[in-house]
Symmetry: C2
Subunit: 200 residues, 2 copies
Amino acid sequence: MTQDTPPEVSTRDALIEAGMALLAEGGPEALTLRRAAARAGVSHAAPAHHFKGLRGLQTAIAIRAFADFNRAMITHRDAAADTPFERLAGICDGYLAFVEGQEGLFHLMFTAAEVDRDDPDFRAGATRAYGLLRAGCAPFTGGADLVFEGAVWSAVHGYATLGFTRKRGQAGGENPPPFRALLRLIVPDRPDHLGPVSAK
Amino acid sequence: MTQDTPPEVSTRDALIEAGMALLAEGGPEALTLRRAAARAGVSHAAPAHHFKGLRGLQTAIAIRAFADFNRAMITHRDAAADTPFERLAGICDGYLAFVEGQEGLFHLMFTAAEVDRDDPDFRAGATRAYGLLRAGCAPFTGGADLVFEGAVWSAVHGYATLGFTRKRGQAGGENPPPFRALLRLIVPDRPDHLGPVSAK
DNA sequence: ATTCAAGCTTGACAGTGTAAAGCTTCGCCG
DNA sequence: CGGCGAAGCTTTACACTGTCAAGCTTGAAT
């Protein structure tokens, strides 16, 4: 088409976006190097020039997903009432909202085998996500408290992966409890100025 | 219920065990219908007579894994000191010990895409696991309390899937906190006879 | 003008899941 | 006793996957 400044996205970006679309439409099994290439309008071997195999494409997708993921947490946090609990709950809401809409991406981000977790960009995205959560926890702990952070992080992640975001959890058959109730259990309803919630 | 005197294991069992070995040795990617068949000493098409495709084999493996998983929780629980907290912590210890030793199986049991979660035997195993946890929670809640159970379940599951059982968590770079510390945060250190820990 | 590397294509290969067809073998019923 | 029918298994075949090797084009740098 036009040929002034590159108006068409780079092949690399086109492949990433095609892969994300495949993931959203057909789940992890539908994400295929050849299909992504076809959808991006290039030959089946083109991806090899941009990624280190399928693993590389999946890693690139996961990196982009972390950007969206972090944005979702920030958006929900900033839309919440300006209290420590509501801001932390907002972060978790963003976390869970992302999972609900993008299970394929979530699977790529947190389920180990198919992604290169040593990729520096991937680590940066994951570290940034943890930093957001940590910042949300800080008002309750007066700094970094691995126990408290670990409890909140585990709770929201477990809640998501156990399928509580869907109508019925995968283990029990009953309706799942709302996440805020779980969070209340970890975050004591008390003034914020009392210092760390878990001793040492 | 099964036939009494087949001295050599059935092909079906041989396939399941071959698959579990592959999973343990090479991770989820190494579990292949053809490889399992070869290791079991049958042709590559034999599995089709016992399972509904690869999905069926993976489901059968997950079902067997749940039996081991539940046994691990029971063993650790029964070896613990006879207090409500120690028994619940023991269940969680069993949970985490299983994950540490059998990440491939754990992945199959709890990561959705590759298994038929509607299989009745699979559901039975998962429900039994949840029942064990629920029983461990009961002394603190005076019965079934979805919020408390969900918090403990999410915490231990999140702790496991986030890689806290390894030296360093995948998100933060620091040493992970011990799980018991997280559990202490959810299970208040208080007499057991005060009734449910979460109101309503 | 030449070179050279990046980007892309075509072609090939081993490995995968799965379906179809044929072969054994054993239990059961006539 | 005879046959027969289904279960279990093998062989064959096919479409699809990831990956590699070789060639083609193109554009910028030397």
